[in-house]
Amino acid sequence: MIELYHIWKQYQRPHWALSDITLKIEKGDFCFVTGPSGSGKTTLLKIIFRESFPTQGQIIIDNRNILKIPNHKIYLLRRKMGIVFQDFRLLFHKKVFDNVAIVLNILGTPRKKVRRRVFNALRMVNLHNKMWEYPSHLSYGEQQRVAIARAVVNNPDIILADEPTGNLDTELAFEIMSLFKEINRQGTTVIICTHDRELIRNFGQKILFLYKGKLLRKESL
């Protein structure tokens, strides 16, 4: 479970990127964070995976205050999470297989297991036949699917996705969102930042509306 208590974040005075955000995301939730550009969606995600510290407030993930985890132990928190970015952040000099395997190599997974799990992750996103290609030979949609495979390959408890369909057309966006839905069905908590209302209408379960750093309303469909 992810709990945020009175989170405030200020990058530059006098503007607040986040103002007094208090919310709970239950284990297994499929949650959209939405709002216009500059409303604080990405900041919220960054705070959850502790790339950024809040100015005030507390964050509890699985009964642990993540702000009290020392820097040299933060890797333990991040191993429970899979992160998907709008710009995919793939390594273009490495093959698709190696891009996904990187997460398992960090964990010291044996080579045989790496092969099997990478293959399974890529099969889930229907890219197992392009395992030995370079990302530059793939379409945008395929590249984003590689990024999703990388995020799920170590079976994380939480998936955080920042505008994962921002660069994709509607058809591909729906395809990607179906994948997230499938991952969620297997018990993973999924938090997606998007301003695409069409997607929210079709896939929304729990929706958090942010506006100028404030949580305007929570909706559960």
Binding site: Y11, E51, L77, M81, R89, I102, I106, L107, R150
Partner: protein, 245 residues
């Protein structure tokens, strides 16, 4: 380097033995050679055959007996040499000493200067290699920024991220050490041939010798350590946690 001790012409045999013992007991002396008056005349005749007639016309043998003491290689620049000469000069039966002290002093100061220059250049080279390796690693870290970021966000420990860069720096330093030893080897082989006779009398003083096994090990290990520290310093600046904001 040899010192010649000229003895009194009519020195008793006992005194010659005493002087010889004194020379042999000294730590500075490698070997001694006694040259009698007769032997001295023979050497003169061999070296200056044109002057044989003059020597034959003399009623007496003008050449004094002498001891030629060859100093050990490391004794040449020792401060003990002048004390040793003073002592021998005061020994009964020793009349004169032929020894080029000015030259020894010059060689000593030249050797000190050469050492100082060596240390200075060595220091500069160590600093330069440290900076070069650290910059190479910095550029490498910079070019792999995306990969490092992905590793950090995927739960990679700092050590996991650092190891390849540290290994790279260490290998670079190690290879640098090996390469420098190889170049030194080539230089030592080529330099005496190239310089040849132009060294003249200095060829006896300057000997080109390769480093010992332990010194070679020191150069390679030193290179590896410089590489390791160089990459560590550039990494610590680049891999600071990003969650400060």
């Amino acid at each position: 380097m040899a010192i010649v001790f000229f003895l009194e012409k009519d020195i008793p045999e006992d005194n010659i033995t005493v002087i010889e013992e004194q020379l042999k007991q000294s730590d500075l002396v490698l070997k001694t050679k006694y040259i009698s008056t007769e032997k001295a005349r023979e050497i003169f005749q061999e070296k200056f055959p044109d002057l044989i007639a003059i020597v034959k016309n003399l009623d007496i043998n003008p050449f004094p007996p002498s001891f030629e003491a060859t100093l050990k290689e490391n004794s040449i620049t020792s401060n003990k040499v002048s004390g040793f000469i003073d002592m021998m000069q005061n020994t009964a039966g020793v009349e004169d000493v032929q020894y080029n002290q000015d030259w020894v002093e010059r060689i000593k100061s030249f050797s000190r200067l050469a050492k100082a220059i060596g240390f200075f250049l060595g220091g500069i080279l160590i600093l330069a290699s440290f900076l070069i390796i650290s910059n190479v690693i910095k550029l490498n870290v910079f070019s792999r920024k995306d990969e490092i970021e992905i590793l950090q966000l995927s739960g990679g420990t700092n050590m996991f991220i650092r190891i390849p860069f540290l290994a790279e720096g260490t290998i670079l330093g190690l290879l640098g050490g090996v390469l420098s030893l190889f170049m030194l080897f080539v230089l030592i082989r080529i330099l005496p041939i190239y310089l040849g006779s132009s060294l003249g009398v200095f060829s006896e003083l300057i000997s080109f010798r390769y480093l010992s096994f332990s010194q070679c090990g020191g150069v390679i290990t030193g290179g590896a350590v410089i590489g390791f520290i160089g990459s560590l310093s550039s990494l610590s600046r680049f891999l600071k946690p990003k969650n400060i904001n």
